[in-house]
């Protein structure tokens, strides 16, 4: 019998216990499947459990490890994949009603790579419809309904990798894959109190993955520690000739490594000006830990520019093309979210000159970061601008943020006022420029919901945010916080 606490252990610890014969991959898989069947529906965490495939893989892993055939750190480790990754033999719904019965006869490259590493797929994780590609107003924009946050089920997980966040946070699988076009791994990881990574653009194959925006989409890991993220990235990264934007192997391949000198950390001071002070204080606490371990920490400002605007507009325009069939046929009316039902029509009117201007501007905006990355290995900021948001009644959610979920001024205590676009949101900046980012737990807010701390690095320096996060977690225990029972260990 595997205890609940075991299901929250990081990958390396699970592997050590398997190799010490405390349990087999089959027993571990059965334990995660049982927990997923019991708690998954309460959270709306899964679209599909891939039970038959999982048990077949787990039996194989059990036999291989018993025979001394060890495929490495992920061998025998159960995981979930966001339901925009193709898996032969199972539905791949993209979280959206128009694709509820969609099936592919092949696996996404990342699924194949994880198969080869001996990892065990136990289910397809719930998500926001089309990963938000045609816009959405909140948590109800999903084929499977709002995904509930294991820390407090009245609150949302964030999107669009909603199920992936809930699954890892609630110990339903050891890790999960998500996708991130502009924040869809970083936000749910932060709000669910887990670790998440958006790798550099082009490092992880997107073959077999739903497209929102060709120049923005990334696949990345979500897990119980920064070390887990590195282990997973080492397996899923690498050149894939089937992904047109895949980097050459010399750049795409990834091996976790420690930095050769003390980390230089830039603490970003002009980020999330409206966030509650406790979110910024969490960053300061984390950086105090790093400083005590020899890191050099200095204040720095994000360069100015229309980063968020450009990020949103590139996505809007590319998504209109990606979902052209859905828009042209009017089947976008089948989407859950009223915004998603019509947004594509507006997007169809952007000018070609604006799209080219955006793509020229991206280069200029990325170059503005070069001087910063000469001075700093990583930039540190809050994981998000707030803790998880309440799941409001469906009609209030569908009216959109302007209907009441407005930003508060003066550190969150000021009067409600309409939201304004913040040009310097870290998710927009790093997504637009292809920078890697890692978010890690940074403690709990006064409302007992998780706070995150994120590290951003120069493109293709994925080892640096991971190194900062590993160093932090070697000398702190925020990543060992789990939700209260029943979604955390009893």
């Amino acid at each position: 019998m595997i205890g609940e606490a075991t299901l929250f252990l990081p990958i390396r610890e699970l592997g050590a216990r398997m190799r010490a014969k405390e349990f087999t991959p089959l027993e571990l898989t059965q334990a995660y499947l049982e927990r997923s069947r019991r708690l998954g529906p309460e959270l709306n965490a899964y679209v599909t459990l891939t039970t038959e495939r999982a048990l077949r893989q787990a039996q194989q892993a059990t036999e291989e490890l018993a025979a001394g055939h060890d495929r490495g750190p992920l061998h025998g480790i159960p995981y979930a994949a966001k339901d925009l990754l193709a898996v032969a033999g199972y539905p791949t719904t993209w979280g959206a009603k128009p694709y509820a019965d969609q099936r592919f006869d092949y696996d996404a490259t990342v699924i194949t790579r994880l198969d080869q590493a001996g990892a065990i797929l136990i289910g397809k994780a719930a998500m926001i419809e089309l990963a938000g590609g045609l816009g959405y107003s909140g948590p109800y924009a999903s084929l499977t309904g709002p995904c509930h946050n294991p820390w407090n089920t009245k609150y949302w997980t964030c999107g669009s990798s909603s199920g992936s966040g809930a699954i890892v946070s609630a110990g339903l699988a050891a890790f999960a894959l998500g996708s991130d076009t502009r924040g869809s791994i970083i936000c749910p990881s932060t709000w669910c109190g887990i670790n998440g990574m958006r790798p550099s653009f082009g490092r992880v194959s997107r073959h077999g993955v739903m497209t929102i925006a060709w120049t923005m989409d990334k696949i990345g890991p979500m897990g119980h520690s920064a070390d887990c993220l590195g282990l997973i990235l080492a397996v899923i990264a690498g050149h894939d000739p089937q992904d047109w934007d895949s980097l050459p192997q010399a750049q795409a391949g990834f091996t976790p490594a420690a930095p050769r000198r003390a980390l230089r950390v830039g603490r970003v001071t002009n980020v999330y000006p409206e966030a509650r002070p406790e979110l910024h204080q969490a960053v300061d606490r984390a950086l105090a830990v790093l400083r005590a371990q020899g890191a050099e920490v200095e204040d720095v400002e994000f360069p100015q520019g229309p980063y968020e605007e450009a990020s949103l507009l590139v996505i809007r325009i590319e998504a209109e093309s990606a979902y052209q069939e859905l828009i042209a046929t009017g089947r976008c009316a089948l989407l859950e979210d009223p915004l998603g039902q019509i947004n594509g029509y507006a997007s169809s009117q952007f000018l070609a000159t604006d799209y080219i201007q955006l793509q020229r501007l991206r280069l200029e905006l990325a170059r503005r970061y070069e001087p910063l990355f000469e001075r700093f290995d990583v930039l540190a900021a809050p994981g998000q601008s707030s803790t998880a948001s309440l799941i409001r009644p469906p009609e209030a959610e569908r009216r959109g943020p302007e209907a009441g979920r407005m930003a508060r001024g003066r550190g969150g205590r000021g009067p409600r006022r309409p939201a304004r676009l913040d040009s310097l949101q870290p998710d927009g900046i790093s997504s637009l420029c292809g920078f890697p980012a890692v978010t890690v737990p940074g403690g709990l807010a006064v409302n007992r919901l998780p706070i995150g701390v994120q590290f951003i690095a120069r493109a293709l320096n994925d080892e640096l945010p991971l190194a900062a996060a590993r160093l932090l977690q070697a000398h702190s225990d925020w990543h060992q916080n789990h939700p209260p029972a029943p979604y955390g260990p009893a």
Partner: protein, 93 residues
């Protein structure tokens, strides 16, 4: 795409909200562009849309055009290239 609001995710922050965000009244040229784009959307898809959806589309388009202003304002040199370039089929990578 994430949708934390105040962190709001892209998608979740409808462009129309930007129009109500206490920003200055749009210039006449912005209003004219909004009208022109809305007219084209309605010409193509108007028969599919309710009155409420048409009204909402106006807000979305106005927000889009507002977002475009700082993007269009950045001056480019003639040779500044876009991030999308021709890649040759058969290119050895």
């Amino acid at each position: 795409m994430s949708a934390a609001l105040a962190g709001t995710a892209a998608a979740a922050l409808p462009a129309e909200a930007l129009q109500r965000a206490g920003q200055p009244a749009p210039a006449a040229s912005v209003t004219a562009e909004t009208d022109a784009q809305l007219a084209r959307v309605l010409a193509l898809y108007g028969d599919r849309l309710t009155a409420a959806q048409k009204q909402r589309l106006r807000g979305i388009i106005a927000g889009d055009i507002a977002m475009l202003q700082p993007v269009r304002a950045v001056k480019m040199r003639n040779s500044d290239p876009p991030q999308t370039v021709l890649r040759l089929v058969g290119e050895k990578r």
